[in-house]
Assembly symmetry: C2
Amino acid sequence: MEKITLNLHGSFIEENELKRIKPEIMAAQKSLLNRKGVSSEMTGWLDYMYRIEKKEYEEIKTAAKYIKENSEAFILLGIGGSYLGAKAAIEAVRGDFHNELLSPQVYYAGLNLSGAYLKKLIRLVKEKEISIIVISKSGTTLETALSFRIFRELMEEKYGEESKNRIFVVTDKNKGALKSMSELKGYKTFVVPDDIGGRYSVITPVGLLPMAAAGLDIDKFMEGLKSGAEEYSDRNFESNACLLYAAARNILNRRNKEIEIFVNYEPSCTSIAEWWKQLYGESEGKEGKGIFPASLNFTTDLHSMGQFVQEGRKILFETTLSIENSQDDMEVPFDSNDFDRLNYISGKTFNYINSKAFEGTFMAHKDGNVPGIIITVPKMDEFYLAKLFYFFMMSCGISGYTIKVDPFTQPGVEAYKKNMFRLLGNKEKI
Amino acid sequence: MEKITLNLHGSFIEENELKRIKPEIMAAQKSLLNRKGVSSEMTGWLDYMYRIEKKEYEEIKTAAKYIKENSEAFILLGIGGSYLGAKAAIEAVRGDFHNELLSPQVYYAGLNLSGAYLKKLIRLVKEKEISIIVISKSGTTLETALSFRIFRELMEEKYGEESKNRIFVVTDKNKGALKSMSELKGYKTFVVPDDIGGRYSVITPVGLLPMAAAGLDIDKFMEGLKSGAEEYSDRNFESNACLLYAAARNILNRRNKEIEIFVNYEPSCTSIAEWWKQLYGESEGKEGKGIFPASLNFTTDLHSMGQFVQEGRKILFETTLSIENSQDDMEVPFDSNDFDRLNYISGKTFNYINSKAFEGTFMAHKDGNVPGIIITVPKMDEFYLAKLFYFFMMSCGISGYTIKVDPFTQPGVEAYKKNMFRLLGNKEKI
């Protein structure tokens, strides 16, 4: 088993800077691991993979098997942490165009309020054999609850009594609208633990059920989490990549680098960045603090945002996710005419060329005074993806404690909801 | 015909600030319209829609008709400005899940170096009836040229001699590898004009051919461009939305708002933001200047990045694209059980609820001291989308001249390419 490695050689960070921040990082790690920091009651994700009930875990597999065997497609209803982790994992592991190449298909709803989106999705799935996974801790998240009302109706029309076997609910253990409705209707339910917030919930049934339903190997995923927990709980600053990442981004932020760009070179990994943005943005973006998390897909976006990164305002640093061994590859064929003059790289693989593009970009951005951090993953499978998730989650908790915010709350998310419920005339919610 | 309107009421911008910046904006507009500014030889987009050759325009329609009638799918090969505008338009007009609901399907390639992506795309399309549109001014852009070598081979295997009728090339009028290859092979070619750069090229065959092939009405699109040119060339600062947008973003940037977030509430409009990012990022991000362009999709991302916007570092302002009349809609059904307690909004449409979410979010972010600009489009069809493109292009040119950069070059894009070609051992390119 290989490690996920962190490379700071292009970060312009000096030894003495690391030395200076080390006590802060170590103190933050200690608070986190000893569960003495703020909101420590929300750090259940630290060891959840050791604690998950065997029965719950087996039932996830049973439900997933049922979904796979009885559905051409399943629709995941959920917003924020209730879909981002699963979507990232499903795309990264199943690969590009997975919905066109693999079964079951996976669609997402309950994550916006667009009538057009929902109407078209229904047109698309209504003739297929489908199942529904609905995920909401409270059961009252408007986007998800509204879409579920629509889909519940559709499922009852389509399947009658059988519809209850095709609807799976992930929600609070005891309370909430989804829980009570599930009891009345007979839906199978899974638990969103009380001690794990949305953006850390990919390691719970929130992530596990849709991943398993999409054919991912969740045993390997759980192994990856355990490997991460073991490795990143280490208290040696210099050899723990997780601590060094937290240190590096805070050093850069203190030098007025306001934006961290998550870069990847594989289109199938695009949604990992979306998950990462929620994790860091929601954990750190409070009390006027935080690094703005953005993402770019290279080489694609070198032809759109590359100019800004190279020569624009010097407020950025880049964190590149590099995958050593790609799932799949192709060779550049030889062409006897060589009209396009590409024969000098015929016989080379695309992934080799992509890696050279990465090297060239990294050097160019370094020359442009953009600090770069490289996170290298041996390959993108369930094991390493889980380990990467854990790496980021642990590092985020430490980083949040380092800047003295509560990384486990999201008070600012309520502001728009309150206004919205008032405008909609909801008397219970205002 | 209604106008695209600009609302600055949530921007915290005061009358006297607008007055102060007005002379700069007016001077920039004058330079642009009189073609006296830097790189004025690259402002052909200002009036291209009046100058396009009738023959070229008709041939675009003929080619599009051929593609539609003979293909289940077409693949657009191109990177940066060679695909972003067309993709934005196709998605915004055809709507969500268009590839699953409408014909022909549209796929994109030649925009990255991932072997996995290309291999899976080929697996996906090889049994379908397909056509290819390849777009590259120089003909030597590595990403596009490599993919084209692969697809050319595939097309020749699949269709033999007939393949030449299924390959359409948009490139330089006279020179370059793609042009000479097309002459030898007998591919139909269209012209990327010399006086229009990639990020302004959506109004040329670069955008028009794929749009038309995807079934969009390019006559309406051209009308929208003309309407934009007429309206936004007006020299009245106070009534020209295009000038006011350029003014507003520069006022905010001078107050140290470093990031502009392009917000939309319709998933089908997501790619408009990608096009906009290239336009502004590549035009302004130079000489250490520029506003970092980012994008969020609401209400989706309120559950990931909403916390940061509301309470994080105060370096942001938001520009929201609001669409008055959506393509499609659904009503919230009444449910006699009301388990989910949503009956208070039964009978309301999703788009009504979405508009209330927008109002509530806008107020919340204003309360959080995040300046907001609203751009309202009556509806999202070919006419208004073209007018919106023109609005942003004109405003971008003016904004670039205002901050004294050359908005029509992209010198920084070469840096990574040079390194990459050296690493790949290309002796011609280094």
